[in-house]
Amino acid sequence: MAEMVKLYIDGKEVEVPKGTTILEAAQKLGIYIPTLCYHPDLRPTGACGICVVEVEGAPTPKRACCTPVTEGMKVTTNSKSLRELRKGIIELLLSDHHVDCPSCPANEKCELQSLANYLGVDMNALPKILERKPLDETSIAIVRDPNKCILCGRCIIVCNELQTVSAITYTNRGFEAHVDTFFSMGLGNSSCVNCGQCTVYCPTGALTEKSEIDMVWDAILDPDKHVVVQEAPALRATLGEEFGMEPGTVTTGKMYAVLKKLGFDVVFDTNFAADLTIMEEANEFVQRVKNGGPLPLITSCSPGWIKFMETFFPDIAKHVSTCKSPQQMFGALAKTYYAKEAGVDPSKIVSVSIMPCTAKKYEARRPEMRDSGYQDVDYVLTTRELVRMIKEAGIDYKNLPEEEADELMGMYTGAGTIFGATGGVMEAAVRTAYWMITGRNMEKVDLKVVRGIEGIKEAEVDIDGLKVKVAVAHGLGNARELLTKVRKQLEETGESEYAFIEIMACPGGCVGGGGQPKGSDFARRARRGEGLYKEDKSLRYRCSHENPAIKRVYEKFLEKPGSEIAHKLLHTYYFKRNIVSGEAIEEVTHKH
């Protein structure tokens, strides 16, 4: 038992374990203390000073977010002086902030905006001292607007500590202090892997995706174009919460309906491609097991993880599956298989994907992703961008009648759905690998040991007597930890204890992706994941190899998993990258 400390907040007694902060103790009592730089997932920095409270006996107010409680402490969270102090800080921030709320991508999601409203701050209390600085638009995926940055430091902690990428940090000091990349070269010329976690944690509009909304509207309105859309698994568990539904509510039918309403010509589903990925990847795993490696096999569907691997772990590239991500498999098929089946000129197809991800924008534009003869995926929208489009179009999402996806590449199984949660790809792959090796389905397809929000999960899977040790890591900090261990094992003994590893760049997997709504925390990510597992359980088919649409695509077009044409369209290769600039240096694996 931890040592307990008793204290009084606004006259109410509360007992909490030693080491608890005043903020946490207040939350336990249901007392609201306004915060700005603080985020429950991240270590507090105490940068903003909004959470100041009065502590009896202390000459000046204390920051609730990082002050530990002490025995008998008497805390006041609300007083005239505190309100003035908090208001004063918001006024200071606004004097150095580009206030353009209605057109800001963070509008209604901005924590500075909501605090200003909450505290009743006059937007023009202090004269503007803002000196407009240029935007960093060097990256394909992420835009930085220093004019909206409040230097809360969240993005830096996320990039350096949660993701261990360290693409950004503070530079200069005082009023000149700002967040920047190495030698101000811009995110596009840095080690940034485009995971976009900074955009999720940024409390304002200083970090956002590079928007492609306008291009997509143009394509939809162009009568010459045939616009095909795919949506990632995680979307169905997230869209609802942006329209007032409980987090984790799955709204697949409404999602299809809204896309049709927005004017997309054909609505397919990335889940179909996820099933296809499983066919190719499980086959690759079985072949590697039969042919003596190289093992472990590591999943490849998270593009943030792929660039991270190319930058920091190029030496293990041969362990990474050659499978493209579901988005790119879909893209390659849309302009070949679908074009052929539907009799559409592939040059007229505009392939749009909607992803919980910012790294997908980068992945779609990798020069090698043109196996259909065209750029396989033309535009990538994040969940946030789709939400903005829905709002722009004035659609009442919550009350929309459900619709179905188009069949050819829209049918999917529960295995495809759970791709969106950490551990899901592993579980889906095990279901199909088991079938490929034994010729029959597992008795119980649920692999609960790899589910959940724990950073690194390990399990031993029994495939008819063949014991396979697997591991799952989500969040690049956890990935780095696991891979450092694997790398050491490989260096020392030539083999690793693991046979199969799933890695997702974002904490929680795609439900916690960098393109997901701002302001989510680990708890909310877990609820979205639970939503996906619920859908998996409710579906008729739960293994990718059972999907009739998958059977059809192999029959009609791809022959069998690992065939020559499958390799041409569905598999890829990797580069070694410069750790400072992110530039590709050389190929480290090659196309078959």
Binding site: A47, C48, V52
Partner: protein, 535 residues
Amino acid sequence: MKLQRAHVLVSVDPETVMAGAKEVEERLIKEIESRGLSDEIKVLETGTLGISGKGVVLVVYPEGIYYENVKPDDVPKIVEEHLLKGRPVKELMLPELPVRAVKRETVGLTRKQVRIVLENAGVIDPENIEEYIAVGGYEALEKALTSMKPEEVIEEVKKSGLRGRGGAGFPTGLKWEFTRKAEGDIKYVICNADEGEPGTFKDRLILEGDPHKLLEGMMLCAYAIGARKGYIYIRGEYALSIKRMQKAIDDAYKYGLLGEDILGTGFSFDIEIKKGAGAYVCGEETALIESLEGKRGQPRFKPPYPVTHGLWQKPTVVNNVETLANVPSIIKNGAEWYKKFGTEKSTGTKVYTILGHVKYPGLIEVEMGTPLREIIFSYGGGIKNGKKFKAALVGGAAGVFLPDRLLDVKMDFDNLKEYKAVLGSGAILVMNEDACMVDMLFSIIRFFYHESCGKCTPCRIGTRELLELIKKVRKGEGEESDLDKMIKISESMWKSSFCPLGQSLIMPVKSAIENFREEFVKHLDKEFHCENCRR
């Protein structure tokens, strides 16, 4: 050692070097040699003598005669007349002796300094470890290592009442005790020599004038708290300090006073110098630790304090140079001896830098509790050129502007608190009637604006808002409400800034505006009396 009948000490510090101290020294050696006096007269380099604005300064012992503004061409005369014929050269002598080392027995005489920390500065050759040993150096270390337990060392320091000279005045012995009792085998002692307070160079004088005293203080601290490794974080611009400290460290290793098994007692200790890169905030102990760890110099949240979670999260003592330099004398002479100096709650002495419109700018060491008026008018010689006193900025840039009516304040930690002032860095900037308070405050705010680390909102943007406001007032474009706005902003910075940097701007802002409001109002009416503002 040869027996010499006279010593000529050449003050060598950045200021005198600029004035040609090296040339003077060379000439001295040459002239002495040419007269065949080399065996009788020794020329020594010493630290700054605490005299500022007087060019190259020499002292000739045993008489203790000071020469000021010495040029190389004056040297033959000094050698011929004084050193050969025994007739001091009157026209080159300092007219009065504002700063003079006095023996401890003469303590109590008015207008005499009491030198504990600076007892050897300007007296011995700082680059010669033997000279330090000859005046009783490293005796305290020997005493502690051979006859005292670490706890007894801490007890002695506690009893002495020594308080941190870095500004906050925290009891040193208590800090050491916390660190000793903190869990963990690895502990560190850090000497904060990142002296960056404008108008302050007291630590530099110690570093340059008596580096071994600081080393000995650090060794005693290390022995007391159980540290094996110490760091001296020196302001990067202090090139001579760094050179002399490094020489002192190297010599201490050679003499077996640093390294493994010191004096055969089993106590081992290493010291390393780390150069600061010019950030004012790195004088704050946690920012200093971050910088020492190779990170951006930004303060950490306290608690936990460095005494439990310091360098590399290990228990760490961070002490100011002056604090540590007090320790050898305390251990050698005992706490009771030390407590005879100063006041009951602020024991010992304090080193001050007196600058500005005084007759004798420079450094002094006097007992705690000495009235400010005495410091300015006796030790500083009062206002020069017959002008009237207007204000003193006490404690550095983060200090307080005191007008004439508040000059009787006794300078110690607690008395100053009653005046809402602080000892701070020990800097006393004296201004005469011509000084412009608005312009002074502008300089201070600009300094803080430049030196804020940018981590926390109140300090980062608050300093900028203050700068915009004072610029307006200075140009006569503001309104009277701007003055109140400035006080309000600095008050909110005091309450909500993350570290002392942002918290302390309230002191100069409030004291300047409240004590000299009339002058600010005159500026608002475009009535300027200083050239800077008129422009």
